[in-house]
Amino acid sequence: MTLTVSTRKRTSSRSLYQIAFAQFRTHPLARFGLLILTVLYLAAVLAGFLSPYSPTEYESGATRVSWAPPTPLHWQSGSGPPGLVVYGIKREVDLLTFRDNFTEDRTQAYPLRFFVHRPEARYRILGLFSSDLHLIGVAAPGKLYLWGTDNLGHDELSRVLYGGQFSLAIGVIAAFISVGLGMLFGGVAGYLGGWVDAVIMRLTEVLTAIPELFLLITLRAIFPVDSNPVVVFYLIIVILGLIGWGGIARVIRSQLLSVREQDYIAAAVSLGANNTRIIGRHMLPNTFSFVIVAMSLIIPGYILLESGLSFLGIGIVEPYASWGSLIRTAQDGGFESINGRPWVLIPGLFIFLAVLGWQFVGDGLRDAFDPRKRS
């Protein structure tokens, strides 16, 4: 007697990640968040190309252009080829209020050009390609300040784009550090148990007990306030990573505690797997869905914290700019700054967009991995 194989239609099965990805794609807010993030991160990577000036360029002396308003663009169709045109900027001191008045000098017109080369503003994309090509620019001595300038005369648009590199990168890198530490400590605590578990759990409680801002400021104070700005950049990343691993470690530990009793772990042990293999190959991959969601929800918090630290003056400092330090410059100008020059608050809008984007994506991921919310 031969067995006949029934010809059934092959049922397709999808892995957890394929299901989650399909769910994520149907979530409108999550797609919107992803769009925002893509735009912001692309703008950060291509910051050098998109900004007309370098972030540290300014002129001092008689030609300084501090706190200039956004340069208006005009459509010129008179003499010469039609196109967008920028007029020269004249600075006069108003003798009544002692403020600078910036007026347009209509006698000098500089056409807006695309894909200009500016050798004094070279940049590297991702540290690999060096170039001096900029998307927009005007011929010197014309000035193109699309979003105005700050107190020293830096172009605000360039500073915001370059600042995005710092703000966005710090959030992601610090989140990786936190998640790495959390998985390490949570895994060790969950698997080994005993006094190791108790000590690690006390440590996470300590992290919750001390107010976040106080801990951040205290950790930052280990290094002098006027350290090398590059050192400060790495320091902020490490500090942010150090304060956030507690929550992740706790959840991973509890997940491991529940997984530890499962049969397949006993099978692996009886087959002779050592501790590392069991933790790394069997237990930790179960936690990945939580880790992905947790990371996307930690990153907006870190972006806010980093901008807060820079706002207080103990984060990213001159000559580098981050969105928080740009708002600090805005505040240092006093009430007049915010009242008469509202464009200096644009970096705050960018912080808001970045945080919003990550939160939408995080919510979308959380719903995508939630087995109760399948549609």
Partner: protein, 326 residues
């Protein structure tokens, strides 16, 4: 109940000790100490600095210093503030009270509004009002507190210029009042505290209202709610007596970590509005390496966390009949 309390306190003592040790180590890890900046001043001789060092106890090893600080802290002596030359408690207490004023007002605002909005959103899910409120909640979560504070300042100044309506902008009191009575002074402080508290409350309302809404939606879908409705119970009884009591349980459990988060979270707003709270004090103390101010302040907040945790455990036991600490 009492053995449970004692057990809980015993569990939290190692946390407190570990926290203070970690803090002490961090602050000591900074190079130099308070007297380093004095040594820059040519008018103060090196002998005087050495004498000061012995007087402040900064010449001892870290362990000795920590032990001395701990034994003093436990009897209520928080140490000496070097820059103010006064006991730390005298420097910190008024600042702590100021911060607490902001925290209390914003907490009351947060919970009263968050519960209202959350329950409303759960009762009419996906309606226009619910979507609007959810959108506002996202807005409140995404905007940085200091940025929103600056925007609020901008709006206040514009309002003042256009309508002459004089809302206080910075500081705790208006210096212009001569010899005000207690109530006049309290009213003045309240006005000054209002805007910062509202800004602080915004983030709390955004996150808590979404949380409550989610919890209520989950609870309202349960079978016992359906039974209660089928029984003929009025809507109000079903929602508040049955559904909300269950939905609010995680909220009560989270109260413990609330206090330190609030005190720390008030930081940026205090800086923008020039409110004399804990954070400006801490920033100054860190700049001058005023050791005992930093350590004692943060130790106090750790203590508050421990107390808050015990209170929230007790509250949870009172509200959740399934938990009985015997």
């Amino acid at each position: 109940m009492l053995p449970f309390l004692l057990r809980r306190l015993l569990q939290l003592i190692p946390t407190f000790l570990l926290g203070t040790v970690v803090l002490f180590m961090i602050v000591q890890a900074a190079p130099g100490d308070f007297l380093t900046q004095l040594s820059q001043n040519p008018k103060i001789s090196a002998d005087r600095i050495d004498a000061l060092r012995v007087m402040y106890g900064l010449d001892q090893s870290g362990l000795v210093q920590y032990w001395r600080w701990l034994t003093h802290f436990l009897v209520g002596n928080l140490g000496l503030s070097f820059s103010a030359n006064r006991p730390v408690w005298e420097v910190v207490a008024p600042r702590l009270i100021n911060s607490l004023v902001l925290v209390v007002i914003s907490t009351v605002l947060t919970y009263s509004l968050a519960i209202t909005i959350g329950v409303f959103g759960a009762l009419r899910p996906y309606s226009l009002a619910d979507r609007l409120l959810s959108g506002l909640a996202y807005f409140g979560l995404g905007i940085p507190s200091f940025f929103f504070a600056l925007l609020a300042l901008y709006a206040l100044v514009v309002v003042k210029q256009n309508t002459g309506w004089d809302l206080p902008i910075g500081g705790k009191t208006s210096g212009a009042l001569d010899d005000p009575g207690f109530f006049r002074n309290a009213w003045d402080v309240l006005l000054h505290a209002l805007i910062p508290s509202v800004i602080l409350a915004l983030r709390g309302i955004s996150s808590e209202s979404r949380f409550i809404r989610g919890q209520m939606l989950e609870v309202l879908g349960q079978d016992y709610v359906r039974t209660a409705r089928a029984k003929g119970l009025g809507s109000r009884a079903v929602i508040y007596k049955h559904a909300f009591r269950n939905a609010a349980l995680p909220l009560v459990a989270g109260l413990g970590a609330l206090l330190p988060a609030l005190i720390g979270g008030a930081g940026f707003v205090e800086v923008v509005f020039n409110w004399p709270g804990l954070t400006p004090l801490l920033l100054d103390a860190l700049g001058t390496q005023d050791l005992y101010v930093v350590v004692s302040t943060t130790a106090l907040s750790t203590l508050l966390y421990i107390i808050g945790n015990v209170i929230s455990d007790l509250a949870l036991a009172a509200v959740d009949p399934r938990i009985r600490y015997s």
